[in-house]
């Protein structure tokens, strides 16, 4: 009995939604025959919203089976589908984690549900297009953006607090934001402002905005960031595009340029950094395509070591990753995604021209990052992180914001518009925030200082309910007086958008303890309820 077929494996991990969406009957026939050929059994909980997909597939399976009676794969269970992601259900949810670490690793690294990765890839490649994967773009504003000068202006506050900017109306009646964000204002019906972010750790780092956690009291190895979790749970969407890409540029203050850490999930789930060491491996080095194909042939002839000596699946995994790597080296899909020169000039113009110079020890203002992020999620990345400029204005707050806000306004509004124009707004969630807010009182240098008690966030896409303001601060913009929102709640919402049930999915840490992805927070009812 092939262990991949055993019903207990199926019960433990259910891959969902791999083959749903619109599909021609032809591809279903192909799919069915492939299933028969490989004896796959993977249809636990597979159906489309209309229920048609599974019906078609069933018919074709039966047809195919009739022509090949010697093989009889089983179709196990049909249930409602939450799109895209791997959901790990516990052993009748006693512990909400019925998996041993070993099993989990194998499933996490090599497959979805009962499929091993090679089977999955094979199945995917014959099934043609896949349902659009869900993804997240995380935009970090290093240094702590000034909430009361951007989206929560306090015109009734005394002058030492009020700030220099005027509010303007937005496309949502009654909602006003800063006059230097006119483009975002026009898109306000497609976005959500949270004015009451609380629970910031008061630390100049990107960590909390990438992981939703504090660094203190982390389990050994540290907390993984969202992108690493997606990489672990879902693996690659496209064999030639990494699931997690970190675009955050190098900065003088290193904790700001953090593109996300894998924590206890291990380096295998670190972000692929086009600015970092791994990038060099993407372009052919010391070789041509011809020579690479020569070498590949040579390797195939030499590499005759019996794979079945390894029962752990590692050798098989290695072959699959090698195959992917060859794919990346020959297809250049990732490079193309990163190459914004291939973009329509009209679209490039919409994103505008930034400033490649780093603002002090913070980041540059690269408008390309916004565009690249869109191109990457389109190509198959599950999570893109990026960082924009530097917002830690202890002095000349208003001068600096006058320079940066228009660029930020253009970049973010272009991204949101672009996602909508391409029909990606249901699949791609965007979150924009910084590590904390800024003091109500303007200091003697015309700046505002650190204020972890309250800050703001902007959300877009992800199929969320937009055009609203969540939470409110007091008259001075110093305390959240309505609907305080924790970072974890935003993460729970993002995971929800990705089809991951935060009340069920756990990942084992280094001590084997099952860890939830967020600490007990639920998706925000205002956005997804």
């Amino acid at each position: 009995m092939n262990p991949d077929h055993s019903p207990h494996r199926m019960r433990e991990a259910r891959g969902e939604g791999l083959f749903c969406g619109k599909r021609t009957l032809h591809s279903f026939a192909q799919l069915a025959s492939e299933i028969l050929r490989t004896e796959l059994v993977f249809f636990q909980g597979l159906t489309s919203k209309s229920g048609r997909t599974i019906l078609n597939l069933n018919q074709h399976l039966q047809k195919a089976r009739a022509s090949q009676p010697e093989i009889s794969p089983k179709l196990i269970g049909v249930g409602p589908l939450s799109p895209l992601m791997l959901t790990i259900h516990g052993n009748s949810s006693r512990f909400c984690d019925g998996l041993s670490r070993r099993n989990f690793l194998r499933i996490g690294a090599l497959g979805l549900g009962g499929l091993t990765l090679p089977q999955l890839l094979r199945a995917e490649s014959i099934s043609g297009q896949r349902q659009r994967h869900k993804s997240v773009i995380m935009i970090f504003l290093p240094g702590g953006p000034s909430h009361q000068d951007m989206v929560d202006l306090k015109m009734d506050a005394p002058s030492e607090i009020r700030g220099e900017f005027k509010p303007i109306s937005t496309s949502v009646p009654g909602v006003q934001i800063c006059e230097h964000l006119p483009k975002i204002a026009r898109l306000m019906d497609k976005m959500t402002v949270i004015r009451s972010m609380v629970g910031a750790e008061d630390n100049h780092y990107a960590f909390q905005c990438l992981s939703g956690r504090h660094q203190k009291n982390a389990p050994q190895g540290g907390w993984p960031c969202l992108g690493s979790v997606l990489s672990k749970l879902g693996g690659s969407v496209d064999r030639s595009v990494p699931p997690f890409v970190g675009l955050s540029p190098a900065m003088g203050h290193v904790p700001w340029s953090d593109a996300g850490t894998p924590g206890f999930l291990g380096v295998g789930h670190a972000p692929f950094k086009p600015n970092g060491a791994g990038m060099g491996d993407l372009t052919l080095n010391g070789s041509s395509l011809d020579r690479l194909s020569d070498r590949k042939q040579l390797l195939a002839s030499f590499d005759r070591f019996r794979r079945d000596v390894d029962g752990s699946g590692l050798m098989e995994g290695l072959d699959v990753f090698n195959e992917q790597a060859f794919g990346m080296l020959t297809s250049s899909k990732l490079l193309e995604a990163l190459d914004i020169g291939r973009e329509d000039p009209r679209v490039r113009e919409m994103y505008g021209k930034g400033d490649p110079k780093n603002r002090d020890d913070g980041g540059p203002k690269l408008m390309e990052q916004f565009l690249m992020a869109r191109r990457l999620v389109e190509a198959g990345t599950r999570c893109v992180t990026l960082a924009f400029s530097r917002w830690d204005h202890h002095g000349d707050n208003f001068g600096a914001l006058r320079q940066d806000l228009p660029l930020f306004d253009q970049g973010l509004s272009a991204l949101v518009t672009d996602l909508h124009e391409r029909g990606l707004d249901k699949d791609v969630s965007v979150v924009v925030w910084g590590e904390f807010g800024r003091t109500p009182k303007i200091n003697k240098d015309g700046g505002r200082d650190h204020w972890p008690r309250v800050s703001c966030a902007l959300l877009a896409g992800g199929g969320m309910r937009h055009g609203q303001v969540i939470g409110a601060t007091d008259r001075l913009g110093g305390e959240a007086v309505e609907r305080p929102v924790q970072f974890g709640e935003v993460f729970a919402t993002l995971y929800h958008n990705l089809g991951i049930d935060v009340s069920k999915v756990t990942l084992p840490d280094l001590s084997g303890r099952p860890q939830f992805l967020v600490d007990g927070w639920q998706p925000m009812k205002e956005l997804v309820g």
């Binding site: 009995m1 262990p3 055993s6 207990h8 494996r9 052993n91 009748s92 949810s93 006693r94 512990f95 909400c96 019925g98 041993s100 670490r101 070993r102 690793l105 690294a109 050994q220 190895g221 540290g222 690659s236 990494p242 291990g266 380096v267 295998g268 060491a277 791994g278 060099g280 491996d281 993407l282 080095n285 010391g286 020569d294 040579l298 390797l299 030499f302 590499d303 070591f305 000596v309 390894d310 029962g311 752990s312 590692l314 050798m315 995994g317 290695l318 072959d319 990753f321 090698n322 992917q324 790597a325 060859f326 080296l329 009340s503 280094l510 001590s511 084997g512 303890r513 939830f516 007990g520």
Partner: protein
């Protein structure tokens, strides 16, 4: 009245006319007896006797006793066969209940009382009827039912809280998480029944329970999902659990008395069984109480296999084994107590031609394999052994000279001599220092740490080189005092800062026990409570610190005072106590850390030696006898307990001699088995019937690539040629992408699992295409250039050299043909120009590139 318990019979019953039932039944019995269905000879498997288990056996033999309306008993009927085999027949026998309707038997052998009285219960397997079939066999058991109509007052901790655990209400994802779920909170897995009672009865103005109309209690309505419940339906309205909850509410929610008995231990029956592939086994769980009484807890316990590829268990305790030979443990939990059922599932092949046993390891592994009927692979050839053992002991590939010498050596003990030579080399100490430095968290967080990390690494290396007894080694770390400069192991205390991480690291690293869970709640898989946790932490309560002589360094000293720690939960002050031991009363001037190591290193310590031999076993055999290697607990049993015990005793008897342990491990035939499976052991993952290949470590691989390409390793601030295995701390991971991407640990955890052995896309890309590696392959001073420029030797000789260097073996004719074919390959002709042969140097670069990317190179096999 006869009641047949098989499910298929019940189905038939529903459709067959009454008169036919008995006939149908007889046919079914034959079909449902697997050995007959498989066509084995019935005489070989003839059933000799039946045995009924009904709870705790009395002095006069077993008796089925039911006391009170709530009582129940899980019967287990075991058939004993002429062959000596035992098989669970609980669901296949026919039960005849005593006259007078005293009790009811469910299809799975669960007995519940109906009426008071005494009688006899019979279980039988009837004869197959006509022909020379097996005789009818039966067994009886006296029955006594008392108080069948008497509903005793319900006890909350013993009867109600376990229902929440079984139904999953108090799991970590639901109401059991700290803070609860949607306003309703239960203690994790019911470890704190008093708190649960408080939350249920008093919280939310008592709206959860409604004694006047129990069925309208929110608790019950939510549980059966008659009002919307986020967790869905957890109970059936007609289930025994529901009735119990209902009765408890109707009784006015009694908690029970403080004098009521509490569960002291649980017992599972059977404890062990040798079972066939695909067999089933019903389990029975008995909870023993502090007043000496016992109750059946089969229906209320939680079950979980330690290997889900081997077995599954349903909620009623029925184990279904899969088609995987080996051992599987089923963990049983009830009210914080644990027990384990172990099934051995033999493959059943003939095991005749065993390779020679060289030491006790072999006898015990072979004994197990015989028991399992799983013939081991043959002994591996010399080149494979040399490469394997050199990588495992010295962390490097064998040199060409070593391979050549070893091949020409004809002496019988040449393998033992290699092991000894490697153990004597400084490379052994370097490789194992690399392993221990990561586990002992020799981490450089700041530039000022460098002095300390270098010294500590050096101290570890020297200790291993001198073969310092392991207990002394551990004492010097755990009881370290003074300045890092004078006493380098103090560096451990710099990384492992507070008493909780000190105790957790100590437990996991040196005892193989993961105590982390018990900090905040009773350990869900173990007997450890918060009391045990904080008692253990008291050993580290007197660690004092003051600034050291160098910046970034600290002095550690023993702070005079009575060692104690406070239990975070009940605020009790605790004296230090070894796990499972009585508290120690230590005078204030005595450093408790010394007492800790005294306890650890005592020859009868149940964890210390076992943990180390298991850790080293994993190093050499790629899977621990207990796996993961630092998760030793009753509920994660070793695959070969006898072997683990024997290794531990040997280690203790050798006075904790690490080199002697390695000599025994590597000197065993088991270590020297081929990794190639035979027709029986392809799926073997835990019985060591063959060698399990492992991916070579990041450091060893990095060095090996340099060796093959002929390039020199270079690390910032270290002399050229320093090998990656020799690196003193983690700080080089950041600058050498290779080490990072291949999972060299960052020394931030005492867990071996921090070393990532996963494959990843980034690794593949790097190995196939990294600029750095391409440059090394193509270097002017590299091996490819020098082979191409060597006109004295022919290509065949050079290919042989490459194979020896990379794989420690000669190429076979096919490989030679492929290599030579590539070296003589014609390039596609360009327009008008004559055909050209591939440039030699480029061809050699290609061959080296390909060899480096083979699995044979990347794995130790």
């Amino acid at each position: 009245m006869a009641y047949h318990s098989s499910n298929s019979f019940r189905l038939i019953r529903a459709i067959a006319p009454t008169g036919l039932r008995r006939v149908v039944f007889a046919v079914l019995l034959v079909l449902s007896t697997p050995h007959l269905a498989r066509g084995e000879s019935p005489s070989a498997e003839s059933l000799k006797s039946l045995e009924i288990y009904a709870g705790v056996p009395s002095s006069t033999g077993s008796m089925l006793q039911l006391r009170g309306a709530d009582s129940q008993r899980q019967l287990i009927v075991t058939g004993h066969y002429a062959s000596g085999k035992a098989k669970d027949l609980t669901r296949t026998v026919v039960f005849t209940t005593p006259e007078g309707g005293l009790l009811k038997i469910g299809p799975n052998g669960l007995v519940t009382p109906l009426k008071d009285g005494v009688g006899t219960l019979t279980a039988s397997v009837p004869s197959s009827g006509a022909g020379p079939g097996p005789e009818a066999v039966s067994a009886t058991i006296p029955v006594q039912v008392v108080g069948a109509d008497k509903a005793l007052p319900v006890n909350f901790p013993n009867q109600i809280a376990p229902i929440f655990t079984k139904a999953g209400c108090n799991s970590g994802g639901c109401h059991g998480k700290s803070g609860g779920q949607n306003g309703f909170r239960l203690s994790l897995l019911g470890f704190e029944p008093a708190e649960d009672y408080e939350h249920l009865v008093s919280e939310s103005r008592g709206r959860r329970l409604f004694p006047a109309a129990p069925d309208h209690s929110l608790l019950l309505e939510k549980a059966i999902s008659s009002v919307p419940h986020g967790g869905g339906k957890r109970l059936e309205a007609d289930s025994a659990d529901y009735r119990m909850l209902r009765r408890w509410i109707a009784q006015g929610m009694p908690y029970g008395n403080s004098t009521d008995p509490v569960v002291t231990r649980i017992e599972v029956f059977p404890k062990e069984r040798v079972a066939a592939l695909g067999a089933e086994q019903q389990l029975a769980v008995i909870a023993h109480y502090s007043d000496g009484s016992s109750e059946d807890a089969t229906q209320s316990s939680l079950y979980e296999p330690n290997d889900k590829e081997m077995a599954k268990v349903d909620a009623s305790g029925l184990v279904k084994l899969y088609q995987q030979p080996g051992d599987v443990g089923i963990m049983v939990r009830y009210q914080g107590k644990v027990a384990v059922f172990r099934a051995t599932i033999p493959l059943g092949a003939e095991v005749n031609d065993l390779p020679p046993a060289r030491n006790f390891i072999d006898s015990l592994v072979f004994k197990k394999l015989k028991q399992l009927g799983m013939p081991p692979s043959s002994v591996c050839d010399d080149p494979t052994f040399l490469r394997r053992v050199t990588i495992d002991i010295a962390g490097r590939l064998p040199t060409i000279e070593e391979s050549t010498l070893f091949a020409s050596d004809t002496s019988a003990e040449k393998r033992d001599r290699v092991i000894q030579r490697l153990l004597d080399s400084s490379e052994y100490a370097e490789y194992f220092a690399n392993k221990w430095a990561a586990l002992l968290r020799n981490k450089r967080n700041e530039a000022t740490h460098k002095h300390g990390t270098y010294l500590f690494h050096d101290w570890i290396r020297e200790s291993l080189l001198a073969n310092k007894p392991y207990d002394v080694f551990v004492r010097e770390v755990l009881a370290a005092s003074g300045d890092i400069g004078r006493n380098p192991p103090v560096a451990w205390y710099r990384q492992v800062k507070n008493s909780t991480s000190q105790l957790e690291d100590t437990a996991q690293l040196f005892l193989g026990v993961r105590l982390q869970c018990a900090q905040c709640h009773h350990h869900p898989y173990e007997r450890w409570s918060q009391q045990d946790y904080y008692s253990f932490s008291a050993f580290f309560s007197q660690v004092g610190r003051k600034p050291g002589s160098q910046p970034g360094e600290e002095m550690v000293f023993h702070k005079r005072g009575v060692a104690k720690a406070t239990n975070k939960k009940n605020k009790e002050e605790l004296r230090p106590a070894g796990l499972g031991n009585a508290p120690l009363e230590l005078p204030p001037e005595q450093d408790p850390r010394n007492s800790l190591v005294d306890w650890m290193a005592a020859s009868d310590n149940p964890f210390f030696a076992k943990s180390l031999v298991n850790r080293y076993w994993k190093h050499f055999f790629n899977r621990g006898l207990v796996d993961p290697e630092d998760d030793i607990r009753e509920t994660n049993p070793p695959s070969n307990p006898e072997l683990l015990d024997a290794l531990a005793s040997h280690f203790v008897a050798s006075k904790y001699d690490l080199k002697e342990l390695i000599r025994k491990l590597c000197g065993s035939t088991v270590y020297q088995l081929s990794s190639e499976p035979n027709e029986f052991n392809t799926n073997d993952k835990q019985n060591f019937s063959r060698y399990y290949p492992k991916r070579i470590n990041a450091e060893v691989l990095y060095d090996a690539i340099h060796l093959i390409t002929g390039a020199e390793t270079k690390f910032d601030g270290l002399p050229e040629g320093t090998r990656a295995v020799q690196l003193p701390d983690n700080s080089f991971n950041a600058s050498v992408y290779f080490l990072n991407v291949f999972g060299r640990p960052d020394s931030s955890s005492s867990c071996e699992c921090e070393r990532s052995q996963d494959a990843s896309l980034a690794q593949s890309l790097h190995l196939l295409n990294a600029k750095d590696l391409q440059e090394k392959i193509a270097a002017d001073k590299g091996r490819a250039a020098s082979l191409a420029g060597d006109f004295k030797r022919d290509d065949e000789t050079k290919i042989r050299e490459l194979y020896l260097a990379a794989f420690s073996r000669q190429p076979d004719p096919l490989e030679m043909k492929v290599a030579i074919g590539h070296l003589e390959k014609k390039l596609p002709s360009k327009e008008g120009k004559p055909e050209e042969t591939i440039p030699k140097r480029r061809a050699y670069e290609d061959v080296i590139w390909a060899l480096l990317n083979t699995k044979e190179f990347l794995f130790n096999h």
